[in-house]
């Protein structure tokens, strides 16, 4: 398996996932983090929340991961946009990240984006 076949999960905050966002694209690989609000056993769909925004996660491909309401989870997968802009992330991997400092995490993501943008400009120059 070569690295070209696996897209990295771009780090996004849930409030950024709105239809006008550059991250809101069919099939886009994303990494999302949020508190588990609801888990529907019949469909294996989890709903996570962060910053007032929610996202549905299809966890059918995940084994060995227990779900506890109120715990914080992180998922990497592909975004599937359904009619009327309903989005669901089809998770490839997931993990419990209880104890994570979400404020620090989101601030660091912004710093990283700036760094990666500078790096890209440097490589292109």
């Amino acid at each position: 398996m070569s690295s070209s076949t696996i897209n990295p999960g771009i780090l996004v905050a849930l409030p950024e996932l709105e239809p006008s966002s550059p991250f809101f694209k069919q099939g886009m690989s994303l990494r999302v983090t949020g508190k588990l609000q609801e888990y529907i056993v019949e469909t294996a769909v989890a709903i996570i929340i962060d910053g007032g925004a929610t996202l549905m996660i299809d966890t059918q491909n995940l084994r060995d991961l227990g779900f506890r309401i109120g715990s914080i989870y992180q998922f990497i997968g592909e975004l599937l946009i359904q009619p009327e802009n309903d989005a669901i992330l089809k998770a490839r991997v997931g993990r419990n990240v209880d104890g994570i400092d979400l404020n620090l995490y989101h601030q660091s993501v912004l710093l990283r984006r700036q760094f990666e943008s500078d790096l890209m400009k440097l490589r292109e120059a």
Partner: protein
């Protein structure tokens, strides 16, 4: 000697994967500095176990770093040391392989090389990280080190 030649250089995947190869076996180069070892932290997103090796990818959000962990220490006569040394090395490699689970956050350190035109890490050690905050710390260290150290031209060699 330039310290980046002997240290495990902390790099984000996007940075690591954009490095250019030097001559065969001489590592890779970043901003004119030779890099032979690297450290990456991320989530295991693929795992392909063969008889002699474990190949996996670590995703840190900026790229997926290909890693190879050799498991054939008992089958390599030229690997040095006696049988007990090789047993111990094989045991350590097996422990490392056990840490590489799909979805786990891992810290990988090893030699940087080029395989079929792509940068990869030949794993020296890999550990599963329990605290999710260590990944954030690693990102900040990568950014800080790049700006304050790796992007700064290497010191000139003293004349002997």
């Amino acid at each position: 000697m330039d310290p980046t030649q002997s240290a495990h250089v902390k790099l984000l995947a996007a940075d690591l994967l954009s490095l250019t190869a030097r001559s065969a076996g001489a590592g890779v180069s970043r901003a004119g500095r030779t890099i032979t070892r690297a450290e990456a932290v991320g989530v295991v997103v693929s795992r392909d176990r063969a008889n002699k090796f474990l190949r996996f990818h670590v995703d840190d959000g900026s790229g997926c770093v290909p890693c190879i962990l050799w498991l054939n220490h008992r089958q390599r006569p030229g690997s040095g040391g006696g049988p007990s040394y090789m047993d111990l090395t094989a045991e350590v490699a097996a422990e490392h392989a056990a840490a590489v689970r799909l979805g786990a956050l891992v810290r990988v350190r090893g030699r940087v090389g080029v395989f079929r035109g792509s940068v990869q890490i030949t794993v020296g050690d890999v550990v599963a990280e329990r605290d999710a905050n260590v990944e954030v710390l690693h990102w900040l260290q990568c950014v800080r080190l790049a700006r304050l150290c790796y992007d700064v031209p290497a010191p000139a060699r003293p004349r002997s």
